[in-house]
Structure formats: structure tokens, C-alpha cells
Amino acid sequence: MSEEYPAQEPEGPPPDATELTLQQLVLESQDIRVFLTELAVLASSRLSSAGNTIHSGVTVLRNKRPQAVAASDAAARALDELQNGFGQGPCLTALHQGTTLLVPDLAAETRWAPYVRTAAQHGVSSILAVPLDLAGDAEAVLNLYSGRSNGFSGEDIVAVETFAAQAASSLRLIIRISQLSEVRNDLTAAMQSRTVIDMAVGAIMAQNRCDRDTAFSILTRASSTRNVKLREVAATVITSISGEDRITAHFDE
């Protein structure tokens, strides 16, 4: 299965537009990063015990490429990045398969050889990877590293799976809200912009006694030859006629 992971190809198939938005949100939203960091810290403190410190990180897939986005500490971040650099490893396989994956003892592991060897040199002995089910909105995996072999008990695994599921459903909600608020902000900006442009088009139609398409092409030409945004050209037109420099759209939110 791990062989299917291409070593970080720059070109992938063009991603679906919706999928892209969501992945961008996961990676770029400050709220989501904070949430994922809290998740990693919580996972690490919940599972760590005396003599068995658990490092935890979250990797998100973007354009088929994995990216470490949050971690409980620098060690976890480094381990995530190491794996993403190799382009293969247990966490990426878990992400790919959508199922929890446990490597109880790195010394006995034969898969992902280059990564496993390097991780062992960094003092890792067991790894637990739990994917976050984001219902196709994005793909993310919670990675847990222990310095002990058999560092994760059956109980630990159940506990992590339970709160990974809870975290995933909260995350789905955060993603939806962020997405909607972005669309809403864009629409508000579009309403303002369209109001100004429509007014300017009307003014040009009246002045030049031309139709709407002609008025638009006059504006568009002015915008592209001067390399000024259409909206700014429109605002200049209105100001030159009426002296008004603040036009606001009339609609309630």
C-alpha cells in the first residue's frame, strides 16, 4: 500500500474546486490551526504517563501532498515532517487507508524501511496513527509517537479513536463555518463593488447615449490600459460626475 505513495510529485490531477477550498481552509485558517494544536496537546497529555512521553502531531493532505500543520511539541513536528519528507510512513498509510494503524515496535517493522530507520534513530519505538474522518472535506491524520515499544495499550487506542472522532466532527463544523463566512465576506465585497460599477455604467450610458455592453467595454478598456481595477475606474467616473466618493450598497445583512 505504501508504494502507492508517490514521492512528492509536483504535478497531481487537478483537484476538485470544492475540495481545494476546504483544504486551503484547514491549512490557512488560524482557528483551525489552533484547534489542531489543542488536539495534539490534548492527545499527548492524555496518553503520556511516567516514563512514556507521547509526542503528537497532525498532518493534513493538500493537493495530495502531506503537510504537518500542528504538533504538541517540536519533536512531534520534526517527526511528522520527516515522514512527509520521505513521502511514506505509517501515518501517511493510515491517512491513505482511512483506518487506525499501530506500529508496536519499530525494530520489528519491515514496511516503510527508510522512514522507520530514521525515526528509530530519533528515539521512536512505537507509532499510532489515527485518521480524522472529515467526510471528504479534507484529509487529516493524528500521529502519536512513543519512545517505548508497545507504547500504546488497547485502551489507549480506543481512547484516541474516540476523541479523534469527536474532534473530527467539531472540525467539520469549523470548516463549514469558515467556508461560509468566507463566501459571505466575498459576497458583501461583490455587492459593494457591483453597486459602484452599475452606477458608473448607467452614467456612461447616459453621457454617451450607448447601450450597456458598450458602456461596460469603455470601462473595461480604461481599466486594462491604465492597469487600474474596474471598480476603481468606476468610482472615478462617479466622483467626476457627482463629487461623491463614497458609494455604499443598499442592502441589509
Binding site: 487537478p14 477550498t21 466575498d186 465585497a189 461583490a190 452599475d198 455604467v201 473595461t220
Partner: protein, 83 residues
């Protein structure tokens, strides 16, 4: 809003070419469709999101004025967002 495309075969060919270039530029940009449509709408565009989608998949022709606005929307949006 299927175009009132009244030009002869030559201009239709030209429109095909132009459309292909616009579609390619859109795909390369990786900008989500809703983002482009909202911006284009903000410039005074009249086509709905589905027609824009069809245009960008080379399945529909739009009137020249709309094509001009789509190009302008792309130029402004890809140049660095809406300030």
C-alpha cells in the same frame, strides 16, 4: 444565458480559442469557482455560477461582454486579491 452568438464560423472559432485560453488560465490558477464567480458578479457580471462553470469547461459560449468581464475578473483576482 446561452449566447446570442451571431458571428460567422470564423468568429466562432476565435471564441473557441479564447474560451480555451480562459479555461486553461482558470485551471492553472487553482482558484475555486465560487471565488471567481463572486468576483465576476461584483464586476457586474450577469451569468450565473452554473453558466460560468459550463463556460470554463468549454461547454457553453457566453456573450462577448460577459467574456470580457470574466477575463477582467481573472486578471484582478489573480493579480493579488480584492485588497
Amino acid at each position: 444565458m446561452n449566447a446570442d452568438w451571431t458571428g460567422g464560423p470564423d468568429s466562432l472559432l476565435e471564441a473557441d480559442e479564447q474560451r480555451r485560453a480562459v479555461a486553461k488560465r482558470f485551471q492553472d490558477s487553482e482558484v475555486p469557482l465560487i471565488k471567481l464567480w463572486t468576483y465576476y458578479y461584483g464586476l457586474g457580471g450577469d451569468a450565473d455560477e452554473i453558466s460560468l462553470d459550463a463556460y470554463l469547461n468549454e461547454a457553453l459560449h457566453l456573450p462577448a461582454a460577459q467574456v470580457g468581464l470574466i477575463s477582467t475578473a481573472m486578471r484582478e483576482l489573480f493579480a493579488g486579491g480584492e485588497e
